[in-house]
Subunit: 362 residues, 4 copies
Amino acid sequence: MPRPAVPAKAALIQIGACGVCGTDLHILKGHWPKPLPWPFTLGHELAGVIVEIGPELTHDWIGQELAVGSKVMLPPLMPCGTCYWCTHYPETANKCLTPVYYGRYLGFDKPPHLWGGFAEMVYVDLGMLPGTKVYKVPDDMPLRLAALSEPLTSCIRAFARAQRIGGFRVGDTVVVQGSGPIGVLAIAAAQEMGAGRVIVVGAPEQPRLALCRSFGAAATVCLDDHPSPAERIAAVRELVGGFGADLVIDCSGHPSAGPEGIEMLRDGGTYVEMGQFTDAGAIETNWHRICTKDINLLGSWAFTANDIPQGIAMLDRARDRYPWYDMQTLFPFTESALGDAIAAAMAMRTVKSTIIPCEGLD
Amino acid sequence: MPRPAVPAKAALIQIGACGVCGTDLHILKGHWPKPLPWPFTLGHELAGVIVEIGPELTHDWIGQELAVGSKVMLPPLMPCGTCYWCTHYPETANKCLTPVYYGRYLGFDKPPHLWGGFAEMVYVDLGMLPGTKVYKVPDDMPLRLAALSEPLTSCIRAFARAQRIGGFRVGDTVVVQGSGPIGVLAIAAAQEMGAGRVIVVGAPEQPRLALCRSFGAAATVCLDDHPSPAERIAAVRELVGGFGADLVIDCSGHPSAGPEGIEMLRDGGTYVEMGQFTDAGAIETNWHRICTKDINLLGSWAFTANDIPQGIAMLDRARDRYPWYDMQTLFPFTESALGDAIAAAMAMRTVKSTIIPCEGLD
Amino acid sequence: MPRPAVPAKAALIQIGACGVCGTDLHILKGHWPKPLPWPFTLGHELAGVIVEIGPELTHDWIGQELAVGSKVMLPPLMPCGTCYWCTHYPETANKCLTPVYYGRYLGFDKPPHLWGGFAEMVYVDLGMLPGTKVYKVPDDMPLRLAALSEPLTSCIRAFARAQRIGGFRVGDTVVVQGSGPIGVLAIAAAQEMGAGRVIVVGAPEQPRLALCRSFGAAATVCLDDHPSPAERIAAVRELVGGFGADLVIDCSGHPSAGPEGIEMLRDGGTYVEMGQFTDAGAIETNWHRICTKDINLLGSWAFTANDIPQGIAMLDRARDRYPWYDMQTLFPFTESALGDAIAAAMAMRTVKSTIIPCEGLD
Amino acid sequence: MPRPAVPAKAALIQIGACGVCGTDLHILKGHWPKPLPWPFTLGHELAGVIVEIGPELTHDWIGQELAVGSKVMLPPLMPCGTCYWCTHYPETANKCLTPVYYGRYLGFDKPPHLWGGFAEMVYVDLGMLPGTKVYKVPDDMPLRLAALSEPLTSCIRAFARAQRIGGFRVGDTVVVQGSGPIGVLAIAAAQEMGAGRVIVVGAPEQPRLALCRSFGAAATVCLDDHPSPAERIAAVRELVGGFGADLVIDCSGHPSAGPEGIEMLRDGGTYVEMGQFTDAGAIETNWHRICTKDINLLGSWAFTANDIPQGIAMLDRARDRYPWYDMQTLFPFTESALGDAIAAAMAMRTVKSTIIPCEGLD
């Protein structure tokens, strides 16, 4: 790939780390609900260093100065800020009609072809795609840590949705369904936002549930030991005590999470559905239970442009409170390693397979 | 039935009107999810006049004076106010652990046997059942109007739940699923609480949808003309315009309402499930749609003791704004008429079959 | 004034009605807290008819088609939508850093000089001032009614602020301080948004308090009869009963409103300060009362671009529910009449002095 | 004092630690706004061990088992749960009409005289005062730590009020006015509830501001170096950057905090007034600033019975995250030491003077 020219509002970013997201796996399984511009470069949890920058791209989205050498991250979804939706429903700009979309909707064919994170370089150009948003990360934040800021933001926004409606209060008992990367990050986000206790339902014990406990989960319920929904519900209710959990959040992506999860809630509790980000199918659901339990149920899909700085900032201030690196398994940027990274993630042997395209870039 | 003695904190109430509720019909169909103390007296939308009162029952729940001749209503569900739930989760006291429950859980066998609304008299006794709550209605409010205050309260609380979370704002376009009594009352409640436009999906055109329009519905979509969910969704979206409805509320009690209704919503909108009050079964549901549409979904079940005065007050101040009586079909209190009232409601020939146990008591 | 050329994104609007706002009076008294570009054309509650329009100005802010003959209104404050504030704090875009500002900040010197409502024509140009927002009003809405949409929007937004935090619930007792135009419109807005009872404190009885009652105020307390704060507080509390009002809103613009108004509230109630739009001075305030009464206190200043359609829509659907025209006193557009209009408003002989620049344009 | 008999629902508690509260100091200065039953025993931040208990007092307020040897704390204010206010406004039960009130409203004359914390024993009797609430603390929690749970609860509730209205979001920059015990505890509570940065305005540097920084304050502004409000506002705004703080909370008890603090806020920010718990006088306030800054202002006074467990639980889970003991200066329970403890607190030589009535009880 030839190194592209860098116009006035553009920059070229050398990628130091890029996570493999569950959505990448779902895309490969065909769960993405809309047509995609195949071929395109996957990878959207990326952090890197600016190696070339145009003279008019002087600041990031929140007004921090950018220059060659600045560490930055790019999220996949960048609301345009100018469509009818963005201007009239800014609080849910995650549903922007014409977002800039890295690692998914920018086809490989489009020059200069550098639109995804499983690559050595990524290109941004606010002249060509004015909705593009670049976010500076602290100079002393390792890039592989910064690569967690996007998925962490998704978790923060999901809990913030609940907090905003009074459905997540300080001291609440939170149940996380799913022990993949989103589940693990949700454990940290829940605690940083005031949760009293966090209990995780997932599998397998190694490496996932053990990692969950090292992130602060008070207890874990393993799918392998509790193969039926009824057993899992009973195990969680036993651990939680009282009337059930205050908040249950689906981070599993499995269609059965919803009907199972609402039975772990106390009446009047809050269920957050952030796991069914892609379409993995439908499930029998008794809506009478939603009614009679008098619960709140929130869908939370991705994030807005103003949420991302929260992910970076939380990662920064809680840097020493969680074993962030323990969730990452690093893979070099070779064809076979990329395949391994994805296969390991699909097989749940890793929690967060992370590609390191440029060794030594930290 | 012998006229009971009336102790110090008790009262005997002559019933002027009692509505037949959809829940009564669901109970008769076996949809009530828990055991019931058969035999018991159905009927819980009741309004009457105090004919005898003990010396210590001096005020109603909100401090209004009570005396012989006072018009009152009783709701079915009266949270006790003293159980662990009521004291620790007062905002959702509708889920009280030990409620007083007229027309359902007080078995006929329990003396003095007058625990339901399909009767000439109903008995309250705060000595025997301290959680009992009596609500005075204005002296000049006809009893058959007062009999609507309980179902109207359910609608108000459902919308208030949505309002409290920012999911129902002034001017919002509201879609009501269901054109039975709850649907009709929801039309009034929505407008009184600031809705911009109300659109109803239901059947049949006569008497139900016509009545909905006379209550202010801007448009109606008839199930008979749009037999499939896809057609109804398309018809509603055509009427609503833009991105879809701001709020959709299930007042139908049909299990399919949920998955269908969320497709009528704009992204970021709010769905309120108050219709599946009893258990009419499960339905295939794609939770990915809840996630990707980034919606709020609220279950609202019944009401608390502090909601009821809102129903009475709204009925009072909006007395002349809606054709309340047009929704009621009156039946005398005879065995055959009671059967007719229920049969007519089940067949949707009436909207709100209403029993008038004591002719002339107004 | 020569008739200006109308470029591609511009329009020339013939003004049918323009209200005299309390802010106009405060500006004339020197209460505006920042420098103003004297000379400029006052008048910002304006409605008119498009008489010429450029080919690229095809739709209003919410996507309605515009053409010669379309009735429109312009608000004074138009958030730009692109500054740092607007993009990062869109929920409070009323505090935009670089708004387009009719009737105040666009100096007369700036060609084509038509930047205010006390004139026959007003000019908009989205090429020159891209933040400009035009709002279509219904074809059958009289322009003098449309001229009320901007101040009504201010009231709606103030109540919506309270509603969003749970501080204004259906059936609430609302006390309005002030019986000028904002006070009167607040009576309507409160009822349309679910208030149970509205009580007004103001003066004089004629024409103001009488008008308040015709707008639905359940009772009024006259300053002339209750000259001291203690008397007014006692009178309001007597009328309200119980523990005090649920919500008190300052629509008076008098500095004393706040400390007086919070004593009319029940503990845990909500006070909305929308009256001190300009700086009329400070007042002794005991913040212990705010603390110990455990109240919410909200400042609400103007509105965002997305609020205005709510004002137009409420005016439209509630057209027949309030005697809107009774609040307006019409003045022709002559130099002496303009002076009379302002003098009458200042002397509280009128409620809403309204200039009719073009007789017969309705 | 003779050791009292302990009836069926009573208990006798040996006090291990009792903090000296700012309210105690304000009471001694005459700032309490209502008559008090002099003489009475001050001291209401108390923790101790049950030494005798009646057979019917089996569980604490949240259902935990009580026995001789159980560690417990008592708050000063215990809402009765049965008055009109408690039953109709349970969310603000802190304003209960007939609370049980330790350390203040239970006069010394009332047998068995043990109604305050500056004593060796305190007595509870749910037979005599049914609103009394006892809260178990974890067996392994030192009593002097438990003595912080009541003031910490006040801080939590204040922030929770802000969170509930969307006025305190994860990552927010929080300014705390006041570096006394409430200010220090607010630093911890803010961080535990998701604050991004906390900045404190107070004095003196030693011991107070140094302690604030050890509790995690990112920066402090000293009154001694910034004697005027304008200097403090400028210093805070310089530290905060951007448009000002997201949330400012008064923990100072000084009347000037309010008008000064709102100038530290960004527009649209939230001010919480929890410092003016007692009446220290009024201050010139420009309510135009509240209006034009479009802010939220919340009074938060004490707590409800359901808030206290949050204080205990936060103290428990964050036991190792803050240097709690560094804020306490211990005094034995002698007449002269009690005077010293109060004098030291008044002179701001200590942060939290803490009485240890029973040495060795831990």
